[in-house]
């Protein structure tokens, strides 16, 4: 659906390396892809703990083999409708440099598809028009079998959506 409005400008430097392996997964009926090198593990559903006052984008934590890692939801970044957890739901654990520190972060996914390669020719820069998504949240789009695959700009998303905590301080006050 977004495919028609994608401008045909060729991707610039922020495309993915040609032939790099990516993991594709589904979030609210959209297909996303991440460089496979980032991915540490794909988990089945596990108990989540809600963190009151945290940014909605990362409102929970999970126990990943003795480490407590944040659980991020790309739906919030892209304004996608919420979905129920199903048997197919997975958590993709990635290792990402956050402020220079390698941090483990879980990403919610409704389905995880496969590890594949994306030919360079099929990628395009983020569209400027015709999408409700913030263009800076998208590194590039790729077409594959008539489908659009979104490569999210995680650094940007984490920086913007993960910082909402500052405004939460007022919730700390006792309820009078």
């Amino acid at each position: 659906m977004q495919a028609q409005s994608v401008t045909q400008t060729k991707a610039r430097a922020d495309t993915i390396n040609a032939g790099a392996e990516v993991l594709t997964f589904e979030v609210s009926a959209e297909t996303f892809a991440l460089e496979a090198l980032l991915v540490r593990e794909v988990l089945d559903n596990c108990p989540e703990t809600f963190v009151p006052g945290a940014p909605p984008f990362v409102d929970s934590v999970i126990n990943f083999r003795g480490r407590i890692i944040p659980l991020a939801d790309l739906r919030l970044a892209f304004g996608l409708p919420p979905t129920e957890n199903t048997l197919d739901s997975r958590i993709i654990v990635i290792e990402f440099a956050l402020n220079g520190d390698a941090t483990l972060i879980g990403l919610r996914a409704d389905k995880v598809f496969e590890v594949t390669t994306i030919p360079d020719a099929s990628t395009e820069a983020a569209p400027r028009l015709g999408t409700r998504w913030r263009p800076d949240f998208i590194r590039c789009l790729a077409k594959r079998k008539g489908e659009v695959i979104v490569l999210p700009n995680l650094a940007r998303i984490f920086a913007v959506c993960g910082q909402a905590a500052a405004g939460q301080a007022e919730h700390l006050h006792p309820v009078a």
Partner: protein, 668 residues
């Protein structure tokens, strides 16, 4: 700290210093003009000499002294750091390493190395000889001579570990030769009246008349380690003719074992313990943390196993589960002890600070430390350094008076700062106490009013008034000094301590000085927690902060909707409904509980649905996304593998207190 521990510390230190020297020399070989590096090596040599002498490694100290002397000339630019010189020192260093490890060394090896070093230095620069090592042949060539030696040591030599008695013994040993004599008398003129006497200071001087066949250099050698901090006067008296009178201090009083023999005994004793450098391992802290994580996981897995075993009827499974429980808890205890270090590591850093402070303020300051053997988690120690520096600065700058003022107040001119540590249960109490003027209440009030922290004429209890010091942006120094008074003092300290899950208390009887006590948990890695349920989620509250648990009856609950205040023994305590704070959207339990927590003086009640019980747990940090949330200081993994958040008691009380103050200010 026992002597043995001291020896161990020295050996580890010596290893480090030697490594530092070695690296430095290697760097220097590549870049001979590097002044900074020369200075670094010189300092390391100097430290090695000093600590070596303090812990009885006399041969090491003596040998190092000569290398230091050589390097001093390089440092002063008299001699260039040639490759040959670097090589000679490197060779000498291997000898030092052998001496530090008390390995047997070939006789004469040291002298050969020093001779080589001297030759290289002589070739490299002007040929002023190094202090020659007095060899027996050289000494024998000398005739008898009588020397007048008068010396006084610095006031704080005793504190620094110098003992005058062995020096006197050494001098007397020099007089032990045919027709030799040694007469020692104490100079007592500097001893003050009893009320002004500080028992740890050295007021004595000595007059020594020594007839010996040893050269002057041998006498100077006795004072080698204190020469920077003493007055020494050696004059030659009538040469050769010595009066054969009986020495005043007879040998019967002090049977003087010849120094080398005593040294050998000590060496033999230590050798018996077969110390090798690899019996101590220095490990990166990150690895220990990782190990601690694994142990934490093991403990969690073990508690799951226990659940299964309890539910089962299999006796074998139960007994294995019990064994594993024992092992896991022992393993955790040993892990904890690995992380513990004595606070002496921390306190030792402040001696220098006190010296600097005394110089900058023009005050006389004495630092007394107590309980240095108290152990704390290494990470806690690191994070305590800054708050303690602040507190000591404050004590020196604001607390202590100028000497004249102190005398006028009938106190000794020298101000005291007492730094003490002791363990109290699962906490360590560290206090900084000074005997200065105490907190000036009037000035605190004025300052607080000026900076808008309180309204003029607000009625405050004494304790509340003192608490104002911990408010952000508060500083009482009338003049802004370079030391403190930048207005970032006590609130930073308070936050730092609360970051360690500790608390702090200030007491200050006027005129008697002030005392700040820090209560710090033994470790950051483990917390004793109270597990509670709020809505469907479980949270951990550190037990150290819990004062009491009460029931919130439905009637009280209804009555207090307008104002969340509770009366506990005539004190109003604000309370927070965690259900509302965390927006659980659940109905309250019929019998809610109030857990009253406190940090120092702030108290606040937390309303929870259920108290689940005690829970000792490993603390895990929160990710950068959640570290800013504020209500939580960390998280932990429960026995069933779920995550529970640990409440940040400091943040909750502060926010409650602020909330509480707003209407107060508006009303007045």
């Amino acid at each position: 700290m026992s002597i043995d521990e001291g020896m161990e510390i020295f050996r580890v230190e010596a290893q480090e210093l030697l490594e530092q020297i070695e690296q430095g020399l290697l760097d220097l070989a590549g870049n001979p003009g590097d002044k900074e590096m020369v200075a670094t090596i010189f300092r390391a040599l100097h430290t090695l000499k000093g600590s070596g002498a303090m812990f009885g490694f006399d041969d090491l100290a003596g040998f190092t002294h000569h290398c230091e002397t050589a390097f001093d000339r390089v440092r002063k630019g008299e001699v260039p750091a040639t490759r040959e010189l670097v090589a000679a020192v490197l060779n000498a260093m291997d000898h030092m390493r052998a001496l530090a490890e008390k390995r047997p060394v070939a006789a004469g090896e040291g002298d050969r190395l020093l001779a080589a070093l001297e030759r290289v230095v002589g070739e490299a620069g002007t040929n002023t000889a190094l202090h020659p090592v007095p060899t027996p042949t050289e000494a024998a060539a000398q005739g008898l001579a009588t020397w007048h030696i008068r010396f006084t040591l610095g006031a704080d030599v005793l504190v620094n570990g110098t003992r005058p008695l062995p020096m006197l013994d050494e001098l007397r040993a020099l007089g032990e030769c045919p027709r030799g004599a040694c007469r020692i008398s104490a100079v007592t003129t500097a001893i003050p009246p009893l009320d002004a006497l500080t028992p740890t200071e050295c007021y004595l001087g000595w007059d020594v008349e020594l007839t010996t066949d040893q050269p002057r250099a041998a006498i100077e050698e006795v004072f080698m380690f204190v020469i920077d901090d003493m007055t020494l006067d050696i004059t030659a008296a009538h040469p050769a003719e010595a009066e054969p009178g009986v020495p005043e201090v007879t040998k019967a009083d002090h049977p003087v074992a010849p120094a080398p023999a005593a040294g050998a005994e000590a060496a033999a004793a230590t050798d018996a313990r077969a110390w090798r450098p690899d019996s101590q391992v220095r490990v990166p802290a990150a690895r220990i943390d990782e190990l601690m994580d694994r142990v934490g996981e093991l403990v969690i897995a073990q508690s799951r196993l226990k659940q299964i075993a309890i539910a089962s009827t299999d006796m074998n499974l139960r007994s294995v589960a019990e064994d594993i429980e024992h092992l896991a808890s022992e393993l955790r205890d040993s892990m904890m002890s690995v992380r513990m270090v004595p606070v002496v590591q921390l306190f030792g850093r402040f001696r220098r600070l006190i010296l600097d402070l005394a110089r900058d303020t023009g005050k006389e300051i004495e630092l007394i430390t107590e309980g240095e053997a108290t152990e704390l988690d290494k990470t806690v120690i690191e994070r305590l350094a800054d708050p303690l520096i602040h507190l000591i600065r404050n004590a020196a700058d604001h607390g202590l008076e100028m000497p004249e003022e102190r005398r006028a107040a009938g106190k000794p001119a020298k101000g005291r700062i007492l730094l003490s540590a002791r363990q109290a249960g699962a906490e360590v109490v560290i206090s900084v106490k000074d005997d200065g003027r105490g907190v000036n209440r009037a000035r605190v009030r004025t300052k607080a009013e000026e900076s808008g922290l309180i309204m003029p004429a607000t009625v405050l209890s004494d304790q509340d008034l003192l608490q104002l010091i911990f408010q952000p942006g508060f500083s009482t120094a009338a003049t802004v000094t370079s030391l403190s008074g930048r207005g970032v003092g006590m609130d930073v300290v308070k936050r730092g301590i609360e970051g360690l899950r500790g608390s702090l208390e200030l007491s200050s009887p006027p005129g008697e000085g002030s005392q700040v006590s820090l209560r710090i948990p033994l470790t950051l890695a483990i917390v004793d927690g109270l597990l509670v349920r709020v809505g469907k989620a479980r949270y951990v509250i550190p037990v150290s902060a819990v004062e009491e648990c009460l029931e919130l009856t439905p009637e009280q609950d209804l009555r207090s909707t307008g104002r969340s205040l509770l009366t506990i023994r005539d004190h109003l305590v604000p309370f927070i409904r965690l259900r509302d704070l965390f927006k659980t959207g659940t109905q309250p339990d019929r019998y809610q509980k109030i857990i009253v927590i406190s940090t120092g003086t702030d108290r606040v009640g937390l309303v929870v649905d259920q108290i689940l019980g005690d829970y000792q747990t490993v603390i895990k940090p929160l990710s950068p996304f959640h570290s800013g949330v504020g209500s939580f200081s960390g998280a932990t993994i429960l026995g069933d593998g779920n995550v529970a958040l640990i409440l940040d008691v400091g943040a909750l009380t502060t926010s409650a207190a602020q909330h509480d103050q707003t209407p107060l200010r508006a009303a007045s």
